[in-house]
Amino acid sequence: MSTITRPEADERDMVVMDLAKLRRVPWYRQPRWTRLFGMVLAAALLALATGPNASTDDIFFSVNESMTDGVRLPVCIALMVAFWAFFEFVPKAPVERAKATARANTVDMPAWQNTKKAFDKTPVKLGALAVVVVVLAVLPLFISTRWNQVLVGNVAVYVLLAIGLNVVVGWAGLLDLGFIAFFAIGAYSTAFWTGSLPTKPPVELNPFLAMPIAVVTCLIAGVLLGAPTLRLRGDYLAIVTLGFHEIVYLIANNANGFSGGSGGATNIPHPSVHLGFLDYEWELDPKPYWWLIMGMAAVVVFLFIRLEHSRVGRAWTAIREDEIAAAANGVNTVKYKLMAFAIGASTSGLAGGVYASKTGFISPESFKLMFSVLVLAYVIFGGMGSIWGVMVGTALLAWLPEYLKDWVDENDRITYLGALLVIMMIYRPQGLIPSRRRKRELTLAKEGIGDADAMTEPAGGRIA
């Protein structure tokens, strides 16, 4: 704890240190050395990732080659250990002293209140936001078509998805492993209402009109899945959502007559606007889609931020922190959990609708379980519960594998993602830009009060 910055601080620190000695934690269990262990593991992973590809003849081929061909493993370990040593042993005294002085000046304020003090001034915030939005808006004009495709197809769609999943996982604390199922439902309903599935709709609609229907469909699907299962929690709920995903995936794959089976749906039309004075059609060019999704994301983020700081957001936090206390104070926990599920699902549905009409082609392969796991990883990487963190984290992680395409073997790309996640969880479990509430929960958990991990719940799974 770093709250003591008054004159007698030195004495107290001495006492604390003596106490620490008395406790006698074995050296290998101190955080510093566990981190070293983690880094060595990460080094092995890195060696494996940069090594030759696996061979189907000998499953240990890749491991053998990567670990034994000359300098690869030593170099990786040296790199990681150097990285570790830099952060552990480079003197932090000047920085810490500066921080301490800063704290001493505002000793009565909790630490979390003054860390972001300068940034919290609304004009500064809005100015920074405006700059970021403008940069993002002109970004597609300066990059190649290939990167534009990545920007729209990989980054933008997943950012939208992650914003939705953040409501479920980050705010309400419900572990949802089947989030992509709603993405699929959104995409398939858009395909259905634009007449691209084998089953024809009563009227064929413009994708812009089909998308709201897709959103509502997902909302209903979210409530339908949620209603019977939200009495479960933690791991149990995760398994149920996993099952739900498999059901949706298998229906998409096998119901040839309805969903087109493994071939999927083709020729989903691009959205267009015909409003007399305004006549525009989105085409193959990804740029207009980028602006379209940016607009959608902006609206969604604006609405969700309001929600976060309202009674709904507070109720979600209450449920996440202590469900029994929340219920005892009149919070209808099932209702709010359903709400989170439905809101998350409908955002996912919106993403599905845009995705379907952008690519013009969907198949069950686009909705594999892997993507659910990836989106969850993006959310955790970015910082659960922090809308900005989630957006930045998703953008980074969705961009990275594409970027690596030019540098490493294509089949190994995800390995790097995995290594990055390992390192991130060791050094910064709260995510890139953590939400304040989450950060406080983590601090409390470190001090032994409370539970930062909303996903682990007492055994039993059911609540009264």
Partner: protein, 283 residues
């Protein structure tokens, strides 16, 4: 009716009973936690429930608030002119009917500020839904302001006006207890159930707490059901005392009567070695 409530002890059809439990039996497998427990909380009184550890006091609270569902018996709440069944209702429904509670092991939302903790409870009766909030509708804003004002008032009432923005988990133990009471009051209860509110607090805080409980009872007109081990506190605030042992009510009456009841002395001396005779310790 308030003039009579203090003297009556057990009246079969009381018009002034606010919570009535009859024949509550709660079993976990073969373990009988509550055995045919009768309890009457009269409107406007402070009733203390005491008993040795493991006597079933907290189980009784959990049964009253819907956390546990007893196998037998009935619980009724007379509020707003009508009789409401509480047995088998979900905890949040029980709360909305007018029964609020605190917990033996404090259960605050630790990463939220004191103000936010109270606001969560103050907002549970509001009707503004997610769509209204997202669109920034006037009624949603009005509700937000109302709950903010109410929470400020309540924190002021429990004497924590200067600690609005402190994290609940970083408050002192006594403050956490008071914050929990403020949070419970924010739901506008008719009945407040306090589960060992003085546990872990120092003597000064205990005195303040006794004052606070009396204030809640007299000024806000809330009936209080209190579980407490601290006999001095019980004797100073309670109008009546009910004694539980092994899940059974063994005595009920005014503090003085209970103190000299042979069965109570027996329970405290004979059944458990960590408890003193009620009233003896403060002499």
């Amino acid at each position: 009716m308030s003039t009579t409530s203090m003297t009556k002890e057990t009246t079969p059809q009381t018009t002034d009973a606010v919570v009535t439990a009859r024949g509550l039996t709660l079993r976990f497998g073969g373990l009988v936690c509550l055995n045919d427990v009768d309890l009457t909380l009269n409107r406007g009184e402070i009733l203390a429930v005491i008993g040795p550890n493991g006597a079933g006091k907290t189980s009784l609270f959990n049964s009253l608030t819907g956390v546990y569902v007893p196998q037998e018996g009935r619980i009724t709440l007379s509020a707003d002119g009508g009789e409401q069944n509480l047995l088998g209702r979900k905890p949040h429904v029980v709360n909305r009917l007018g029964v609020a509670r605190t917990f033996q092991n404090i259960r605050l939302f630790g990463a939220l500020t004191a103000l936010e903790n109270v606001k969560i409870a103050a907002e549970t009766r509001q009707k503004s839904g997610p769509v209204g909030i997202m669109l920034g509708m006037p009624w949603a804003r009005r509700n937000e302001r109302a709950s903010d004002r109410r929470s400020h008032e309540l924190l002021d009432f429990v004497g924590m006006a200067d600690k609005l923005n402190e994290l609940a988990a970083s408050l002192s133990y006594g403050d956490q207890r008071r914050l929990e009471i403020a949070r419970a009051l924010a739901t506008d209860p008719q009945v407040l159930l306090l589960d060992e509110p003085a546990a872990g607090t120092n003597p000064t805080e205990k005195l303040e707490l006794a004052e606070l409980i009396k204030h809640i009872n007299r000024e806000l007109g809330i009936s209080v059901l209190l579980i407490e081990h601290d006999m001095r506190l019980v004797m100073s605030v309670a109008d009546r005392v009910t004694v539980l042992n092994f899940g059974k009510v063994i005595a009920s009456g005014t503090p003085a009567e209970v103190q000299h009841n042979p069965a109570v002395v027996e329970a405290y001396l004979g059944a458990s070695d960590e408890e003193a005779v009620p009233g003896e310790e403060d002499k």
